[in-house]
Amino acid sequence: MSKIEMLGATRRDLLKGAAAAGLAGAFPLPALAQGAPLKVGFMLPYTGTYAKLGKFIDEGFRLKVEMLGGKLGGRAIEYVQVDDESEPAKGTDNMNRLVGREKVDFVVGTVHSGVAMAMAKVAKDTGTTLIVPNAGANDVTRAMCAPNIWRTSFTNWQPCFPMGKVMYDAGHRNVMTITWRYAAGQEDVEALKESFVKLGGKVTEELYLPFPQVEFQALITQIAQKKPDAVFAFFAGGGAVKFVKDYAAAGLRASIPLYGPGFLTDGTLPAQGADAEGIKTTLHYADDLDNPANKAYLAAFKKKVGEEGDVYGVQGYDAAALLGIGLDAVKGDIAAREKMYAAMQDAKIDSPRGPISFSKAHNVVQNIYLREVKGGINKYIAVAHANLADPALGCRVAS
């Protein structure tokens, strides 16, 4: 087809479209418009290191929609998937593709904090409703917060802040930290220090490795030389497995206890094996939380996906629950955004992780649990901090 013909076709389509739009303007057909399916765009990592997390968030979301009868606010849901490859450089383009070309009504994503920041910028500019189902970068619901940006997972600050008290109460006074030198690692260490130092503890040394390096021997030797009371570590995925194993192999597990946010032992226990036993972590979920919502979630997830549900599935599951509450309030009429956001703001969800609600900055307010690795699962021990809200420093919507 030549360029001219293509142009002609486009122009004809344009005219048709304009005519249709004119008609629709003259004779509004609300019933028809509201009957059409809503488009949810998943922008998640479907390949690469975080592929499994992306898959579980996707499945968790669909599972909740199915459990709500396949509809949200009375309207069927259509999905569009974009693989963000955990690549911050492509974040803006991918998000624009969903918003511009695919014309989705909502975007759900993503895992990697750098990509999430790029998505939040586009969402802020275009006004598209964005629900973040994992990425923890504090700024998404702090400096970047907006009426249309929501988060059902956590801020990096949330699981780490309660750890200061846990470690202090365990009698530790001099603590060393070790993590990768990048945003999430540094935000985690800052949150721990905030509570631990206030109580009178001391962080004697902060050790950092370049991301995503996994050669830990030199720094583990340093820990052994300095002999702190305990160590706070944040790593995830393959890095978490290797660190926990190297730490145990160096003989430090017995003499210098290891603590960290839950990601240190979540989704990695089969590979870590006995070397992870006894590690205490804090997170907004535990594998064996004893509440009806969690049991229902775990059973349904297993039936649908064939694998054990985890915290990432829960975050996707709750994203669908939150969107459902907003759409129910406006009976699926997404033009009534103010009313929809007001309903989401007031949402009280009986989540598998316990009761959750939302702060003025639109970040989830939730219990943080202390867990211990026992018999190959992250076993619930106690509530480390009930209904913890992120301080949302620098969010102007919240103040």
């Binding site: 592929a51 499994k52 030198r181 030797t221 030389q225 393959g238 497995v241 290797k242 590979a271």
Partner: protein
Amino acid sequence: MDLATFAVQLLNGVQYGLVLFLVASGLTLVFGILGVINLAHGAFYMLGAYVAYWLTLQTGSFLAALVGGIAIAFVAGLALESLFIKRLYGRDHLSQVLLSYGLILVLDELRHILFGKDVHSVAPPAFLTGSFKLTDVLSYQNYRLAICAFCLAVAAAIFFVIARTRIGMIVRAGAENRDMTRALGIRSDRVNRLVFATGIALAALAGIVVAPISTVYPGMGDQMLILSFVVVVLGGIGSITGAAIGALLIGLTDTFGQVLFPSFASISIYLVMAAILLWRPHGILGARDV
């Protein structure tokens, strides 16, 4: 840092350097002798580790995984050379980069289909599972010491083959002047196939040997590939001795860099590389342009 800690860190640095040498040796062989930039070297390292995981699981024997993994990699190397790589000799580096980058994608997808995307760990052979005390709180795995010994043995074997055997002589001659070697009636294509397959087998071997201390995960080869190139360029392309020196230098720089200058840990090895290339633009023992 007291003397005991210094000694432990020295050991850490040397051990890391020896592992780097094992990975980089295959790369420098292929790069130096065939003139082929093989970006997929890291992917074969990763596949080696996954095969080690799978074979240990199936047979219960790490030794079987070692032998089986090397054999699989060697055969794969022979096949790849005769199908694809032999078309690359003498062509510009862009086509080589393109092909081997394509190989990375294929191998990664293959890994996904065969082994999934989970993280795994591999148990070392039973007789090496223990550890011994270095200081009052710090232990050192026997397996790490065994890796040191093993890497030294492999290095010695490579040196011996290249310097003392007929095949080594042909390889050196081919690297020096390919056309003249062929004119003298030596079937260099057969030697090339052997060299490439050996390079791939060495990458897989490194992955297998390192698997018990490194854990096995998707993308584990990416960083190793970059470090291997640093080692190869630093040592001088094609020089096995150079690769050994370069690897030890990088291992020690990285270890002591993390301890003494933590803020510069991510760039310390590149600073060393830049400094050495300013001093010797062809690498420490290199003769050709980089």
